[in-house]
Symmetry: C2
Subunit: 429 residues, 2 copies
């Protein structure tokens, strides 16, 4: 930017907003030194300006009138940290239309209204940046967009939700049940009171939409792909796969190009323990990007939290100050993506767990159904104790078509000797 002094206005003084204020309190000299000009946090707007946020705010900075930011001629960059669709969208559009650059961590809004937001930014010749929206503090969107720009991206997959990863890690380490770990996570503040968004994969899906658009140039709304969470996982599944098969269980968002199609999906996935992603534990996130020249690159760090997210938000502000005219973030990519493949077309290995009466002929029936649908078995494990009426059967398939697997499972489910819900988990190779 040409100006000698840059003024930033913050809208939303919640947890992450307090993190941004904290960065300015502690590192403003560093920011100004790097920018080569004074960088000020000039205004902080929130409806609630009386609660103690645990950080010092200079008198006169706080306002409960958002227009003191959005319509303030002195403000160059607006940080939006209120989250959700409205009034966040209205505020962002107003800022853009007032020729202010916007930095946002709002993945829901960006994933849903991508085109409109990018268009309005472009029409007004300003930037909208959102590094913090995916992977929290991890530098992820910039490397994907810029550092790896010599590559055709082949696949993007990773652990994008800290709450789900914390729960799966604890289930694996302690053998605890999902509901018990969820409660513990809620007590520790790692999970929301209503955890649906995180544990059912919606948060991962929104992040994957953004990564997919940047990596493959294809915008895919959430209703167009398979999103499945971790609430049905049992510690038995995790333990068996860990000890007997050498797999870790992770909730993955996966987008990859197959010929000219895009495969995009969110679901719990078994990963070989030799894969670096399987060592990413607790609330940490990590995303694997594979390019045709660079090969695999993994970016790891804290995917959420006050300080890490605020780091990405302020990093975006500096990037705008340095590169006001940069347009790469919205740039097209030579993706040649035609179709988005339905998950039925997925080719994968599968883990199938079912519960059956321990009677002669059950395995014969099950293997017959699998065979009929062209699903070949890599291993089958039946581990009952003497006298059990019902025994768990765990089947690992060779690579099969998901549509066929679903048909087979439906038929197996209808067998009179098979009880309870059949658990199906995809295996990443």
């Amino acid at each position: 930017m040409e100006k000698d002094e840059i003024n930033i206005g913050l809208v939303g003084f919640g947890t992450i907003g307090a993190g941004v204020v904290d960065i300015f309190n502690k590192n403003q000299a560093l920011l100004s030194l790097k920018a080569g000009k004074t960088v000020n946090l000039a205004k902080v707007a929130d409806l609630d300006i009386t609660s103690d946020r645990g950080v010092k705010v200079a008198p006169g900075l706080l306002t409960d009138d958002v227009n003191e930011v959005l319509e303030n001629d002195d403000i160059d960059i607006v940080i939006e940290l209120i989250g959700g669709y409205e009034p966040a969208k209205t505020f962002i559009l107003k800022a853009l239309n007032n020729k202010k650059h916007v930095v946002s961590a709002n993945k829901a809004l960006i994933a849903k209204h991508w085109e409109e937001l990018m268009n309005v930014a472009e029409e007004n010749d300003v930037r909208i940046s959102f590094e913090a929206s995916v992977g929290g503090g991890i530098p992820l969107l910039a490397p994907l967009n810029e550092g790896l720009s010599a590559n055709k991206i082949e696949s993007i997959y990773g652990i994008m939700n800290g709450t789900a990863n914390y729960i799966l890690t604890k289930m694996s380490e302690e053998g605890s049940e999902f509901n018990d770990v969820l409660k513990e996570a809620q007590d520790k503040g790692y999970a929301e009171a209503d955890p649906t968004f995180d544990i059912e994969g919606h948060d991962t899906a929104q992040k994957l939409i953004i990564l997919s658009k940047l990596g493959f140039g294809k915008y895919v709304p959430q209703e167009n792909f398979h999103v499945e969470g971790i609430s049905k996982i049992t510690p038995k599944d995790i333990e068996f796969a860990k000890n007997e098969l050498g797999y870790s269980l992770k909730l993955l968002g996966i987008a990859r190009k197959i010929n000219n199609d895009l495969e995009i999906r969110v679901h719990p996935t078994f990963i070989p323990q030799t894969h670096l992603l399987s060592s990413v534990n607790d609330v940490f996130n990590a995303v694997y990007l594979v390019g045709d020249f660079v090969g695999p690159v993994m970016l790891y760090g804290q995917g959420a939290g006050r300080n890490a997210t605020a780091s990405a938000v302020v990093g975006d502000c500096l990037d705008i100050i340095f590169n006001e005219n940069k347009r790469i973030s919205y740039g097209p990519v030579d993706s040649q993506v035609n179709n988005v493949r339905h998950v039925h077309e997925l080719d994968s290995k599968y883990y199938i767990r079912l519960s059956a009466f321990d009677k002669p002929g059950v395995l014969y029936e099950i293997s017959g159904i699998l065979s009929k649908h062209s699903i070949s078995i890599e291993s089958l494990n039946q581990k009952g104790n003497k006298g059990d009426i019902q025994v768990p059967i765990i089947i690992i398939t060779h690579t099969a078509k998901e549509g066929n697997v679903n048909k087979a499972i439906e038929e197996i489910n209808n067998l009179s000797d098979v009880r309870d819900e059949i658990i199906l988990i995809r295996i990443l190779e």
Copy 2:
């Protein structure tokens, strides 16, 4: 850049140069689409323009006269890939003085002549970029400099040499001796005929100099810090630490701020197996960056090789096209680093292996010496078989001052019952 068409000249048509040509052959449409203008590889200069490099080059592109690049008014960006100090330095300075941006993968040159190169670039109002010089294809310098710019960097440490990591991985997996694995690595092309540069830590040191300058604003020449390689490591050390102590051995470059001092060093290091770096194997590199707000971030990928390195080189070209005026790469940081600490001042845990005659009183003498130098013992393991005359003794210390440890080792070495060289390996906690 304002121009509608950007011409890039390549100096050095070796392995990585061929990778750059390959990227232009396969992905030029993508590069131009992302840049919003035509991006051409306009000239390729090398003394040898007759050897087959395995890639197609358009007629007229090749020249054996470097000045057809350096003095060509149509060339906007010069890629230097000849390596070494001269004539690379002369060529780069000429390009900069001719107002051409420069992209280089030449870590030796940049680490040694940092100040001169940056100054000449600045005087001529052009950029010099060198993402490929550290961590090959991994986006590393840009995230450190830009994405994490809201942070005071606290530490930078990682696996920066693929050859050394390949050797240590194989020694750990197969229990093989250093020299045998080195030979295998040479046969596979993972190690040079003269491997000194990689296995003795010099390559890691040069990369660490660059990271240190960017992260802490402090340029430290290699002669001012401790650099130690892996050639004295035995499979016994690796195996014992893996099975008995839960450590992996890695060659690490480490730079961290302690109060206002900078600690910088390269040496083999035991890392807890729970640390993600310990799962980085084979020729892969990974660097941990810790910032005061973002916490730990790890960036992982191929640290060398034709395609990965070429990816970073071409990525730098695009970054220059997008942000011709960006100056952040040379920006100062508010490091407040005063002194570079000598390794004698290091506080660390240590692994000490020695060989002693199995006689009464030996352990008494050793433990007395350690105690005298304020070194307390966390564990001591003496594992002889009955009848052995000489037995290995492995001592793990609590955190101690390296200067004291060195004095103790000297005294232990002088004991008449202690034989062979004493092995000292630092432990990262």
